[in-house]
Structure formats: structure tokens, C-alpha cells
Symmetry: C2
Subunit: 279 residues, 2 copies
């Protein structure tokens, strides 16, 4: 049996009782290590589970799926994913391959950022399409996520922005030379995401547009959601460029139409309460 | 401290290790009993937790919040919610009241139907606004959710439809007489939801419209997501009127634009694979 097990968002103890029982019975346990991170490392998980974990980076999962699935019709194999197995990414490829090989699979769900963001008080019902904000480079500055945020906002919907994670990335130079040397991991902060959004707003104005989302749009910055030291800050997009949220992972919400109860909740996390006075 | 703890979606063991530890240390433990159900009852939870649970129906939470919060600045009180505390509903009222009383609170997240539906292979990214489909009565047949589904679909987005739950409802007769006699609980099935949607489609055609969602739109019916006997069925809306999914809870997804990998996953659950041949 192949088990896809969500680990939740905080630390080792955010796994479900069922998930922990399954891990203990598995012959091999893989830890997916490229779409998200917990507030604790692999060693802390290994100690808590009493099992060695095999790190599965993007290459392993894409190129060595057959290794992961080896003998899984005879023994139990677990594939651990931070959050929910179907949260920020999906593992359809692995499941489809398992089914093709006649290997049964089972999913053990957990919280993912997509539902845990409800902790800021915004109704999950009222979220539109989720977007990803990627790190800009000198030559690549995509703006397509801004149009999706605009569309959601025009429909009154909030937008959850998942912020870029660069793990095990190679520099162009090392890639060309075929050197498997990796850059240190980078996690986009709410400050960086807000700066990129403000740059897009400036661009749009230069093109004669008046964007739907501006520096005064109410946003929510979240860090380490589900962790013991989680932080939430609500305020304008402008305020999000300087708010101090600490270590990764960060997420950013651009609000749509706010309901009174949502405003009351956001006030609990306000950088500056006066922003919410007229709401 | 007030703890809001998600129980996940399946049975007693879907609670997180952290959530279980907290419950064991709490002086009072409430179980929210009106927005969702697990596949096991209160007694099974009590046995697994080793704690008595106090059922909190809608009346208790709305009218007796102060009872729930009593002495929570001196002792630990847990409020258990099926799924995630911010999943299908929100408990902002309880949190705001706690904050006002100077009672600290903490949330222990878990899977909710809003992220666990990813198990059917549809990308959670591509879901628009979530809707609720309510039981029609002889005199009240709202159609507003249909317009939201239509809007999502025009934007290429899938729609998760949460299906009505009637727990501790009074008949109009008993309500008028002030008799606290409650009707047996009712849970809307995928079949019932599909029938109501088809009735709306017929109405719209009678009014000369050609609806965006038709009897041939690809849908996904899900039952007991996260439970050991979970069922998923994909097919046309018409097929959803007769598919046998068994006991509650059910959910229904109306798809938007399908990506090839999503189609591959939906085929695993097809009522009739030929529906997906042209996709």
C-alpha cells in the first residue's frame, strides 16, 4: 500500500494519530521536501516517528517514482507531505503511476495553508482562485498573478497568495556546466511579495491604468501558520512592505469585499487599527 | 486558554497528536455538533480521548458562549470542531468574545472538506467561491447558488458545493407551539443536490436561457471524504442523480475547465469512462 500522509503545518506533533500509526508500520518513509517546510527539520521528525526518513526532492519524485513505489504491492510505503497531500501542490502523478502498477493507495489528510489561513478571520467561502507569487529576476518579472487577484477582487473575493520557495535550485552557470551545486534555499517574505505588487501597481499607472488593487488595499500577512509562534498582521498593502513577521513560511492575502465580522477579526491583528476605522 | 481543535474528517484517530494531548489536559471539552459529523459518534470519541464531551449545538454556542468560556482564563477549555475550526463555518464569534474577556486562545488545525476534496484529483488552486446547496421546501426554492456556480465555471473554476445538514431542526408546528421537539437529522445526498440543480436548469430553459451548467457538465460526487470507506464518483450531472454513494456526508463538485492531469485522475472514479473520452 502507498500512503500519502499530510503532516500539517507546525511541528512533528501536527501529524494525525492515524498518520503516526501508519508511519510506524511502513517499510520505507519518504519526506517530500520541495513544496513546503515545517518549523522543525527532518531530524526532529525522525526522532518523533522513531523512523529514518528518505528525503524526496523534486528530482526524486519526478524521475524516480518507480523507486518510491518499489514493492509497494508487497509492503507499506509512506510519502509524507507538509500540509495536506493535495494542498499547495498535488501528487496526482505518483497516484496515477501507483494505480497503473496495481498498487493500492490511501490518503491521510491534514491541514494545509489553503484552509488554515481561515485563522485570520476571513471566511474561506469567500476566497477566489489561489495564486502563486514567484521571485522576480532581472530579466523575468511576470505579472499574471496580479490579473487574477484583480479578477477575484472585482468579484468580491479574497485571494490567497502562496509565496515562492526556491529549494535545491541551480544557478544558470552551474546548470550550464552540469554541476550539481545548489543555491541556498530562499523563501519569499510578505515584504518582498508586497514590494513586487507595488512595482506592478506603479507599472500599471505608467500605462495609464488605475488598478483595482492599490497600496491602500487591505491585506493580511501570515507567517508560520499553525506553528506555536505563528504571526498574523493585517493592514494596507503598503504596510505589508515593512511588517516584521520573522522566519518563513509566509503567505499573503489580498482581501476582496470585507464583511463586518471579518473586519472585527482583522482588527485583532491590525498593524494600525485606524486603517479599519472606516470599514 | 481556549483551544479550538479540528478533528479532521474520518474517525477518532484523525485528530492530531497535538490536539489529543491538549484534550487530555483540558478541564472541559465541548464538541460542536451542528455543522458536520464524523463517521463515528460522540461515544467513540469519548472512549478514545478518555474524556467526557459536552455537546454544543447551535443554541449552546450562540446563546451560552459565556458558559463555554467560563473560567477559561484559569483553566483550559477545548472546543472541538469536525474538520478544521475555520473550515466549513467559522467560529469568529467565540474567538472575539474570548479576546474581549481577556482569554487567550489557540487553534489546532486539521483537514477540512475544503482542502480534502483535492483527493479527487482536481487542483485546489482552480476552485472558485464555495457554495452551499440548501434543502428546498414546498415554498422556498432558492437558486442563488446556481448563479455562483455559473460564474465560477465561466471563469474556468471548479465549484465545491457543501450540501445541507439539518440537525436539531424544529417543524414549523412545534416552533409555533414552542415545543422543543426536534426532527430527525437530515443530510443532503449528491443525488438530491443533482436533482435540485437539474430542476434549476429546466427552469432556466423555460425562461429562454441556455444555462452554462447542463445535465452533461462533468461533476464529482464525494462521500465520507477522509473516512476508511470514502467514495468518489465522477461523471455528468445527470449521472449524479443516480450514483450510489451511501451514508453521509456528501459533497458535490461542479467542474470548470479541466486540465489533462485532472481528467486522468477523474477517470479513476468514472461512473462511465466514455464520458471522459472526448476530454
Amino acid at each position: 500500500m502507498l500512503y500519502l500522509i499530510g503532516l500539517g503545518l507546525g511541528d512533528a506533533k501536527d501529524i494525525t494519530v492515524k498518520g503516526l500509526e501508519v508511519i510506524k508500520q511502513c517499510s520505507r518513509v519518504y519526506l517530500e521536501a520541495y513544496t513546503s517546510i515545517l518549523t522543525v527539520g527532518k531530524e526532529a521528525l525522525e526522532e518523533f516517528y522513531g523512523k529514518d526518513l528518505i528525503l524526496a526532492d523534486r528530482e526524486t519524485v519526478e524521475q524516480e517514482a518507480d523507486t518510491i513505489l518499489k514493492d509497494a504491492h508487497l509492503c507499506d510505503v509512506a510519502f509524507l507531505v507538509v500540509g495536506d497531500p493535495f494542498g499547495a501542490t498535488t501528487h496526482s502523478d505518483l497516484i496515477l503511476r501507483a494505480v497503473k502498477l496495481g498498487i493500492p493507495y490511501r490518503v491521510i489528510h491534514n491541514a494545509s495553508i489553503l484552509n488554515a489561513v481561515g485563522c485570520c478571520g476571513l471566511q474561506l467561502y469567500n476566497f477566489g482562485e489561489t495564486v502563486s507569487i514567484v521571485f522576480w529576476t532581472d530579466t523575468w518579472k511576470p505579472e499574471s498573478f496580479f490579473d487574477k487577484i484583480t479578477k477575484n477582487r472585482r468579484n468580491g473575493m479574497h485571494t490567497l497568495c502562496l509565496l515562492d520557495i526556491k529549494v535545491k535550485e541551480q544557478s544558470v552557470e552551474n546548470l550550464i556546466r552540469g554541476k550539481k551545486v545548489y543555491e541556498p534555499p530562499r523563501y519569499m517574505s510578505v515584504n518582498q511579495a508586497a514590494e513586487q505588487l507595488l512595482a506592478i501597481i506603479r507599472n500599471r499607472r505608467l500605462q495609464g491604468e488605475e488598478p483595482e488593487v492599490t497600496e491602500n488595499t487591505v491585506c493580511v500577512g501570515l507567517a508560520r501558520v499553525g506553528g506555536a509562534d505563528q504571526k498574523i498582521a493585517s493592514g494596507t498593502l503598503w504596510e505589508m512592505t515593512s511588517v516584521a513577521l520573522g522566519d518563513p513560511l509566509h503567505s499573503l492575502i489580498i482581501t476582496g469585499t470585507l464583511h463586518p465580522l471579518e473586519v472585527d477579526m482583522l482588527k485583532l491583528f491590525a498593524v494600525d487599527k485606524s486603517v479599519f476605522e472606516h470599514n
